[in-house]
Symmetry: C2
Subunit: 227 residues, 2 copies
């Protein structure tokens, strides 16, 4: 068995599992976000800030993926939101089978929004469909304006790009205009929001977009039920 | 062939290739650094600042690893230092066989120091021995103090940890003392240097360490030749 056929087998198995996850999510009527980024770009902080805004109107559940520790699921549960931790050991991304195992013990019944926070890695997570509706990536602006071109796949496959830590722009030497240009070049269809989840700057745009998306999906689900 | 045996085969093939690379480096008398970090932590900028300091005394050659683009090797060549670019396509790390192919067309004859700059990824590169003498990792302090515990392998296997972007500490909310404590907990034997390659702060400690290391290795190589 050569490397190509091994990779093909792994991808096919993942697609099959993602398809099964999709059925579970559809049955629960949940909108599912695969939240991705490099380590330390601020996924969990963005998620906390997002939950604070939308939790009064929508029911949220979170699946956390990390190599080690339960730091992130502890943070989410401390907000009163149900969270399940997947620890991957040495595996640098979540795959659909890991999520399937999580769903078996942590079914998202009644959750309007399920957020799956992936392992921090700007490369591999983008290759694995988990059965999500939306891919949302967080990129820390201090990582540099050239990164969309150097690590194109995650940028290319994301529905939303949150450019986080803009409060550090004045001290970082990174030009937001150049970064925006490179994101658009790699993915012209993404919704892009420059934000700082620490200061709250720009968060209203992202929260507005997400709220609209959840309402639209909820109306669509309702009309599907009626027909 | 199951997943475990595939992984074992890949690792063994990598070890064999790393062993062959080691022979090439030994023959050339080069000290070899595997330079690793998450994307945007500042590997190339640290490398540029390091080359500026040590190039007058030591001959340097660089092998760059990226998914896409030749941005990094262009930057190094612009300094008058020979550089070879490996583009991995979708592969999220360098492996020893990629380096072997590079060495076939880019032999490091006469280089005192060969730096192999890995793909930006805080997870996978640490699993692949390239035949290096030293593992040096760059960590951007704004990525957060908890990361050594969440992504322990690279911290654990590095000889040197460069904590970069300390000029952003006052604006980031990250406590350097907590970060240092977590690095030491994961790897008590690493040499740790808090630096800013943008302002130059702390660089003299790292440059002093590296210079000493290169001199010692060069003396050892000389005495081996004599005996």
């Amino acid at each position: 068995m050569d490397r190509v056929s091994v990779v093909t087998d792994i991808r096919q198995a993942n697609q099959n599992a993602a398809h099964e996850n999709r059925k579970v999510f559809d049955k629960c009527g949940s909108c599912v976000i695969n939240l991705m980024s490099a380590p330390g770009a601020g996924k969990t902080s963005v998620l906390e800030a997002t939950i604070r805004e939308i939790a009064p109107s929508f029911k949220v559940a979170v699946i956390e993926g990390d190599l080690e520790t339960t730091f992130d699921s502890d943070r989410i549960r401390a907000m009163g939101v149900p969270a399940h931790q997947i620890t991957t050991g040495s595996v640098c991304h979540l795959d659909a089978r890991m999520v399937a195992k999580a769903l078996a013990v942590f079914p998202p019944d009644g959750a309007d929004l399920v957020v799956i926070e992936n392992v921090g890695n700007l490369v591999c997570p983008a290759e694995f469909n988990l059965g999500e509706d939306l891919r949302v990536m967080v990129f820390s602006v201090v990582e540099g304006a050239d990164k969309p071109k150097k690590y194109p796949l995650m940028f290319h496959t994301s529905d939303v790009v949150l450019l986080n830590k803009i409060d550090l722009l004045p001290y970082s030497g990174v030009a937001l205009s150049e970064l925006l240009r490179n994101v658009v070049e790699v993915n012209p269809r993404a919704a892009i929001f420059p934000i700082s989840c620490r200061t709250g700057e720009g968060m209203e745009g992202w929260i507005g977009w997400l709220t609209q998306e959840l309402k639209t999906r909820s109306r669509q689900a309702l009309s599907t039920l009626k027909t």
